[in-house]
Subunit: 192 residues, 2 copies
DNA sequence: ATGATACAATACAGATCTGTATCTTGTCAA
DNA sequence: TTGACAAGATACAGATCTGTATTGTATCAT
């Protein structure tokens, strides 16, 4: 047996790319198989259904997000700086044509039913992000950490959606993301 | 000839409801015809293609948005109050289970290609909103009206996406939308 | 060498989707 | 009354989609 199967990882990477760029419903399993050069039966051996592949992609995106978050904020010493550097990094990404929005917001839009497995993964991811923001807000001295966390949550998702709307085009409001995050942090932290 | 055709408006209202709740790709023309009780051929008489129906829905949503905007802000005397009252109203709506997000963000997510007609209507709508925010920000005395307009744009879209993600469920961060908008306005307007 | 496994290729089943064709009914105007 | 037209109903064409069945080939372990 090959180490973790090269076919499976090619399949996964192709699906991830297509899901992210073109959407979940717009990407068919035949396209994934053809684009990756892997047989369709091999796809169904590793992922019993398309929904399983979607969920696998979302779980991976969750890991990628958090490992990125840790890496980006590792250099910052204070909680306030961690938030600042994260939003600066998100701004840089969201104003790039490589950004097609947020995999979680995208899946929640395409599958609005809250019982859908992918939608639930999306909600769990956003709640985890909100909790992280809340903890950092508290550590940064925010008077009402939940309120600041909610504000940053709205801001983050607005930036992701701006990226999907204006993909590389001019007029992306995410250009002012980091500055806005800083203003909100300052407004919430008396010891700003 | 009946006044503007009752069949056409029933068709439109049914399509609007289904597009908004379940999504564009998830809603088929057969479903629209069956749900409205109107024949499929009648649908294609008034809307030569599904895309035409989508664009018609988006144009109507644009009108509904702006007439709602005018109505809500009519009572406010200052530009600052107009912004405040709009975001308060949006917060109330976005924290309601009747809100399924934003028709324009939804279409941009499902059809990410910028050449798609519906996507272009969405971009035009958001640019118009941004311009309106900018004008009000300038009138309210913002030092950099574009920056405040961008910030409010991100905030508004974040709230819409929160509504689609947490539809009626607990933990919707849009609960702090109006407060956040006020903080940003205050941060940008020296005469706050 | 031989059997098990991984994989490709292809065809297929059954559902669903957009859009068209056909036929009928009902209504209104002249 | 008769002709024009709006609209319902139904069937259909052709494409596409998820998922399965089948067959053949190559590679690896024993």
């Amino acid at each position: 047996m090959k180490s973790a199967s090269v076919a499976k990882s090619k399949l996964f990477q192709t699906a991830a790319e297509l899901f992210y760029r073109h959407g979940y419903r717009a990407t068919g399993v035949d396209t994934i198989a053809a684009e990756s050069g892997i047989g369709k039966m091999t796809l169904y051996r590793y992922y019993p259904s398309k929904d399983d592949l979607i969920v696998a992609y979302l779980r991976d995106s969750d890991e990628v997000f958090w490992s990125g978050f840790e890496q980006i904020t590792a250099g910052a010493t204070t909680a306030r700086d961690k938030l600042l550097v994260f939003f600066k990094s998100l701004q840089d990404y969201a104003t790039t044509p490589a950004c097609y929005g947020c995999p979680f917001l995208n899946v929640a839009t395409e599958y609005p039913d809250g019982n859908y497995a992918g939608h639930q993964v999306a909600v769990a991811h956003k709640q985890a992000a909100r909790e992280r923001f809340r903890a950092l807000a508290a550590e940064a001295g925010a008077a009402r950490p939940e309120a600041l966390a909610d504000a940053l949550h709205l801001l983050m998702d607005g930036a992701y959606m701006a990226a999907r709307l204006y993909n590389g085009a001019a007029g992306n409001p995410a250009a002012h993301l980091a500055e806005t995050a800083r203003q909100l942090i300052d407004a919430h932290c008396p010891a700003g």
